[in-house]
Symmetry: D2
Subunit: 115 residues, 4 copies
């Protein structure tokens, strides 16, 4: 399965339910935020060690995976509707970040703060 | 390019900068929310028509693509660190949603509210 | 009741439960985002008219009020812990916005986009 | 200054600029999320110690205060438009939480996870 396959599945899913009318960029962006809010619940109170321990269990990882799936679903749907190639965009952004934060300069420096 | 390629690129990017120390699940989840917040700025005030018109321009789409790239980057990085297969998770979630919202029942009904 | 009263109540509430240890700025900021995510669920799919109609009912308004209460609670707690006077900060920000967006210039213009 | 004063100031500010048309619950909820995203930037990468040190400086605290002001501004505006008494709602929520998490039971226990 690829991101393109997922986009096609989501397109069909929405069409079969007559839900395209609700899938405006504004509503999908809100949905992204709703799902990221649910994901944040999983890191809300624990220490880094406690969180890592929870995500190392099958249940903890499954719960996290479900929230991340929702984020990917809305992100992919929004990209499909606006004609954006997510992987190309991410690749271009990573190349831009590589220029902005040269490894040799950033390494061990406080530039971490700005990334 | 695939999501797996992106995950590998991000792994290398972080390693070269000694940034793995900052990439805890908690910090990455926060970063996701920061980027979704920036994405939301693009749909903050306009009507659906105004937003669609903006995203139909090259500049508007490029600006949106950059925010979406950031969301995908942090999502992919978090998935890589926690051992989650994003596409498999999204596919499983979509199958669960298909059972929860059968097309024939949901079509044109108010079930939209709960999806 | 005032915001100062609420801050005092929250301080006591946390102390009685030995929860101060969890109330770091990072965790409280995450909690704010979690609650805003829950609030966003109430405006996720409806049109402006549908949403207004729901919030005009006692149940709809009570549900929204509960999410807004959570946002105010975490905001107040974070302000108390960092020594920030929320009302003074909001008042100063409003004065700055008044200079940035002079009423006579902004009125009916596209400056709305940037506010 | 009280929250009611702030609500009145915001009402006048919007009216003078003819911005009431943009202040739908949906747009204001999005704005809340945008501002919380900006607030999260201040806790994105640092450790709890680093963050506390930054917020202990005048500049760090002023930067945080500005983001928190924006959150309070949109929260207050939304409450005003929907007829919600924020302080009464927060007080009611705190009373409900006190019943849900009795101090004597919660103290030092893992119930922290659920609050």
């Amino acid at each position: 399965m690829t991101l393109d396959d997922l986009a096609a599945d989501l397109r069909r899913f929405a069409a079969e339910r007559d839900w395209e009318q609700f899938h405006t960029p504004k509503n999908l962006a809100i949905s992204l935020a709703v799902e990221v809010g649910e994901l944040l619940e999983h890191v809300q109170w624990g220490s880094d060690e406690e969180i890592a321990a929870r995500f190392a269990t099958a249940d903890g990882r499954a719960a996290l995976a479900e929230e991340m799936a929702d984020v990917l679903i809305y992100l992919t749907r929004l990209a499909d509707l606006t004609g954006i190639d997510l992987l190309a965009a991410a690749s271009a952004k990573l190349a831009a970040n590589a220029e902005r934060y040269p490894a040799e300069e950033v390494r061990g420096s406080s530039a971490k703060r700005q990334h």
